[in-house]
């Protein structure tokens, strides 16, 4: 069981959260006609063996979307922050 330290609610079991996948993907601008950019946004994923930046939503808590930096081999969590702060 992973334990995620929600900046809102404190440390909780990961079963309270919904996984949201790779947080490094960039959504192309709405009017971007570049098909490759859309392909990459929908399908291509960073899949590192090591530190991974990923989304989790605290669905059974504050319902905030978070960005978690987690090691995919050891499961140690390096940082947790609100995802909205990450976006300009």
């Amino acid at each position: 069981m992973l334990r995620i330290d929600c900046p809102c609610c404190g440390v909780r079991d990961h079963s309270e959260f919904r996984y949201g996948g790779d947080a490094t993907v960039e959504r192309p601008a709405h009017d971007n006609p570049d098909l490759d950019a859309w392909y990459r946004y929908v399908y291509v994923r960073a899949n590192p063996k090591g530190l991974h930046r990923e989304y989790w939503q605290h669905v059974l808590g504050c319902r905030q979307w978070l960005v978690v930096e987690r090691d995919t081999v050891t499961h140690s969590i390096h940082s947790v922050s609100f995802s909205r702060r990450q976006r300009a």
């Binding site: 069981m1 992973l2 990961h14 079963s15 996984y19 996948g21 790779d22 098909l35 392909y39 990459r40 929908v42 399908y43 291509v44 994923r45 899949n47 590192p48 063996k49 991974h52 990923e54 987690r70 995919t72 081999v73 050891t74 499961h75």
Partner: protein, 418 residues
């Protein structure tokens, strides 16, 4: 390599079983090969065997970082079936089933393929309708399929929960009689032995760490046992596809996820078939040793750890008891995990790649074990000819750009939902 037979068994029994040869040669790497296959799992070994057997290409090496059978080929729950709905999958998995049916004879190795039949329970009229659709597609492709009503299911598997208090009452089931299980390690050992007998070098304890390029072309690999040249390189590393593809400059629509398996203490023969629970992602079968073997969902987040989380353990046990209340007192003996590739449509990738000289067999998730012979057959043809065999045209990397996904689960482009 001496052949296994009744006579060899008797001869060795009479001489104290001291004369058995090792099943495959322990090879050391040569300077170069026509084809180098990375990954000594079922898929890599099958590919090597069919390269030699079907195409006469014997100057082949299989490079395995650990030992043969240590990956998913030896970690899975051994279910083999060809009850697929979507074009591409239907034909491919049935081709695989036919190869399973002849495998022990073809390899001269008993892989203990047991066609005990598999049923998937339906829990509503609607679900049984979708199963009927699938059964019709299967039958029109020449694949055996039956639709069973509640009474017929009860007759076949009376030990499921048919009580008034069942959480999800059983409405019927889809049944494939030719489905079953095989001894998973034996599949790896059988292919390794047969490939080795054809001259293929199986090199264990040899991790590929990088690729060797000449201009844009890949011409070999760097390994923990030195540089090895290659005319063509085939990648078949199960959950580690992204890690190696990245070294070749390839970004892929793949995530690595953990899948767990569970086995109970052994009990007397109880479950004759493979039973899958249509109300949840759960299935079980009984091993020859008597343990009930369970499988369920992915852990659901990227992982390379080969250690499972307890949330899935609980879900699997809940499903087990909902389906079969009479096993609630059984003790779980062991559970373990394997790292699998998940693609956005949960179908595999057997494909040429944009990198010259590099060929890819990856994206194997829940159903990759049953694909082993067909995958090896087709990947060998791809490596031998440089062309895409008709049977795997649907499994190309290009499908995600063109929108021709084979999304059997209907779960969309999010690997952790598949």
């Amino acid at each position: 390599m001496s052949r296994y037979s009744v006579f060899s068994l008797l001869r060795h029994a009479a001489t104290g079983n001291r004369g058995w040869q090792r099943a495959w040669r322990a090879a050391s790497p040569k300077a170069s090969y026509d084809v180098v296959i990375i990954g000594g799992g079922g898929h890599g070994l099958a590919t090597a065997f069919y390269l030699a057997e079907n195409h006469g290409i014997r100057n082949v090496a299989v490079l395995e970082k650990g030992y043969i059978g240590g990956g998913n080929v030896g970690r899975n729950t051994t279910v083999i079936r060809s009850n697929y709905l979507l074009d591409g999958n239907t034909q491919f998995y049935e081709f695989s089933m036919k190869l399973w049916e002849g495998m022990s004879a073809a390899l001269n190795f008993n892989v203990m393929f047991s066609q005990r039949g598999q049923l998937v329970t339906a829990h509503s009229a609607d679900q049984l309708d979708t199963f009927s659709h699938r059964a019709n597609v299967m039958r029109s492709n020449g694949i055996d399929a039956e639709i069973l009503d509640r009474d017929a299911v009860r007759k076949l598997v009376p030990y499921l929960d048919f009580s008034d208090t069942a959480r999800f009452p059983i409405h019927g089931a889809i049944f494939q009689g030719r489905a079953g299980t095989a001894r998973h390690d034996a599949v790896a050992w059988g292919y390794a032995r047969a490939a080795s007998g054809h001259g293929v070098d199986i090199i264990e304890g040899c991790e590929v760490t990088d690729f060797v390029r000449q201009g844009d072309r890949i011409v070999g690999v760097e390994t923990t046992r030195g540089r090895i040249g290659a005319g063509r390189v085939g990648l078949a590393v199960a959950g580690h596809t992204s890690v190696l593809a990245q070294k070749a400059g390839l970004e892929l629509p793949i995530e690595s996820h953990l899948l767990q398996a569970f086995v109970t203490e052994p009990v007397k023969p109880l479950v004759d078939h493979v039973v899958a629970y249509g109300a949840d992602h759960f299935y079980l079968s009984q091993s020859d040793k008597g343990g009930l073997v369970f499988g369920g969902n992915l852990d659901g987040y990227n992982s390379y750890s080969q250690r499972g989380n307890t949330g899935v353990l609980r879900e699997v046990c809940e499903a087990a008891i909902a389906l079969m209340p009479n096993i609630s007192r059984l003790r779980l003996l062991r559970h373990w995990g394997g790292i699998m590739d998940m693609t956005p449509d949960a179908s595999p990738i057997i494909s040429l790649t944009p990198v010259d000289g590099l060929y890819l067999s990856g994206g194997w998730c829940y159903g990759g074990f049953k694909a082993t012979p067909a995958s090896g057959w087709c990947f060998a043809e791809m490596l031998a000819t440089g062309e895409t065999p008709a049977l795997v045209r649907g499994y190309g990397l290009g499908r995600f750009r063109s929108g021709h996904m084979i999304d059997e689960a209907g779960a969309g482009p999010f690997a952790w939902l598949q």
